[in-house]
Symmetry: D2
Subunit: 249 residues, 4 copies
């Protein structure tokens, strides 16, 4: 049974959505990043812990890297600015200084709890391509059997663009490939209003569909234990105008 | 004989001043930080090397940390935003991303060539206190004999504020102490126009005078070899409005 | 009332002592560092948290840096080898690889929970001077009033040797100064058997005595609130042969 | 025309071989790592620069990461210990401390000059699998067209083992796959004498042969400009006993 939700945050004003270790802000007015990231009342740093994600209970739950992405004044171009950190967010003096001096109308923030991929700037969310920004809270089930199928299904441009080793970045490549195959240019300028939430929503649903198809192809005897085989596909994507989130367990 | 210069950059418009490894921009219109920092034509990363500074010729000359400070829209407060990096600037992906999405009317940038203090974020210029920002290209002569005298001469607040181990940060503490003893509150809000260049200039001259007095106190037999005893006091200070630079050899 | 303990670990064989975030191993045979540091059963990474230390309960308790020091075969000299990390120990791939390939008969390990000093390699314990190694679990009470007094009391060599900004490193400088004033050369070679536990014990007691004297000098109205004024002086020092630990609350 | 060389360093005693940014030591007696890495006379840090490698002449030539791998006493197992650093070697205090306290009979050291893959611990050589260690000085020609072909040709285990984004690590995966297809278990214990130089040499020649076949498959119109299409396949591999190096231009 499918239980998923596609949220269109562009309908919301002045609000934040968070699931697990990710946080999205989209509002009519600009927010100071430090309000979103560092203040105890809102911060994803102090959010309660999503136990379904935690694989290794001996380790702290949010120390595997951090990232924040935000859109600037249109004059500086449609691409978001990304700041990532492999030291924990609570110790990153640059993050603290930048967040207290940066405002934006649309912010993504992400704290990593490793499920796949080692500690590296290349593995920190959000990921970016052109004006698009992507983050993922969760994991792709049976990843070691999905990875080759997913990689083989991608156009060259998206295959070559992957820099790190996380399933989340490969899922983003799959999203970009799906958007491209739907007739859009993910790395180009989408124009004043962006791609629009309908286009983004369709591409993200296609992405989930393709992931499920890869998993369905895996011979039963190769699938791992229950926990490893389950996917948690909480994605958030934005083009700087529309935000689409999925909650798929 | 004294050969020094106090430049008041606030008289200049749309221009950059650089000496050695530091770079100052102050203009009527905003500059994109990446133009200042990363573009080959202007960049301090590609500046020629000041041979007087280089103590250890076996090492690359600008790989000991990097920092950039800039003032934001007044609504975000009078303090500058500081970004420092202990990995070399040319490899710092965060710097590249931030610089291409950040504009400012007043920017300080600094590349460290170690003379004193190890590799640490705490040792990267520019240093900040309230709305003031400070950087130094050079070194204080006979530092091991000056340090105690300098530290002992400081008020508690400035003594305790030193976080790193560079002579440059101690010189900044001395500047703050001099400004304070002249009747100003360095960590407070200096108001709409800042402290003004006259106040900053007097405080920086006082700083140099005090450093020279500490050096004069050192018994001749304790002073080091010629090279170590020479000071190179190229300071730059700003309150977000006026910029004062010294060139003192 | 004084409640303290000076443990002489050299009386113990094949054993580890841990208090708070520090861990000492001294044995007749070599231990693989990963057994001490990374194995869940012994690891200081999983040790329970000392609530007296925790100042900011919103932050994880052991993510402010890590360090390990160990003595090698005598042919490589009497100094310990130190490895420090500003990324959390649980994420440090170098630590994991080195610990699984390094053995020693005498190991110090330390996880920082910040009380004083920012995140920097220079602030990670253990600190080293010649053959001596030092770590501290706790803090010096009324530090902002003690720091100047402590610094002023030190000989030049120990004053200039401080690289970071922690009270723990200044306490080590005080220990070195005390050892020196007792007639020993802390940075020199102490010979085959080291300084001996009597010498180390006397110097560490002198260090505590001097700290208490500095605190006693502070005018009552300047002392901070109760929590800030209390010292927690759990020190461990070794010369590669004897280990002395204090527990002073 | 093929111009290559396969060196079998196990024939040499007490000697080092270096090409470009890599350095190999294999000797009958142990060497202190700091002699190999940090001393000006031998150090790869001060080696002259191989101009064929340098793509971007505005950047320093050896600041893109560093790695050293060495074998320990057999009692600690057949795998090498690897230390990597994304800060430049000349600034890495841990490297300096470890190198002065570590000895080994077989050492690989590598300084990265980026041709492919961003700054990340995962991209630093040497790469390791079981008892095998690998490094590469150069690049695979027409990499964007070779990558998919190379990835598709690998067995699952080697495909999934790649953690970073360098052509060098993929070449190592290809070597492991070639060794495996020749009937050996790369990740297993090869026994007392290792795989032997004949086996390693055959596998490395097979690796080069396969790379050349991938390049030959690329349609002529897709191949890049001359510079990009040329391969520089200077590999070094060891199992802890034999060392095989190639020089293939």
């Amino acid at each position: 049974m499918c239980r998923f939700l596609v949220g269109n945050i562009s309908l919301l004003h002045q609000d934040t959505i968070s699931h697990g270790f990710t946080q999205v802000y989209k509002g009519k007015s600009e927010i100071l990043l430090s309000h979103l990231i560092l203040d105890p009342a809102h911060s994803i740093l102090t959010q309660s812990y999503d136990s379904r994600l935690r694989l290794d209970r001996r380790r702290p739950h949010n120390g595997d890297g951090f990232g924040v992405g935000y859109y600037t004044a249109p004059a500086l171009g449609p691409e978001p600015c990304i700041f990532t950190s492999t030291i924990p967010a609570w110790n990153c003096i640059n993050l603290e200084r930048l967040a207290s001096k940066t405002v934006s109308k649309l912010v993504f923030a992400h704290v990593r709890a490793t499920t796949e991929g080692n500690l590296s700037d290349s593995n920190c969310h959000p990921f970016r391509c052109g004006s698009l920004m992507w983050m993922h809270n969760g994991g792709i089930g049976s990843w070691r059997h999905v990875k080759r199928r997913l990689a083989a299904s991608l156009g060259d441009e998206w295959f070559l663009g992957v820099q790190g080793s996380t399933d989340s970045e490969w899922a983003f490549a799959l999203f970009l490939d799906s958007l491209h195959k739907a007739g859009y240019d993910p790395s180009g300028d989408a124009g004043e209003g962006g791609f629009g939430h309908t286009v983004l929503r369709k591409a993200i649903l296609k992405t989930i569909e393709r992931i499920n198809a890869f998993i369905a192809e895996i011979p039963a005897h190769l699938k791992g234990a229950d926990e490893d085989a389950r996917s948690l596909l909480n994605f958030a994507v934005t083009d700087g105008h529309s935000v689409v989130c999925t909650r798929y367990v």
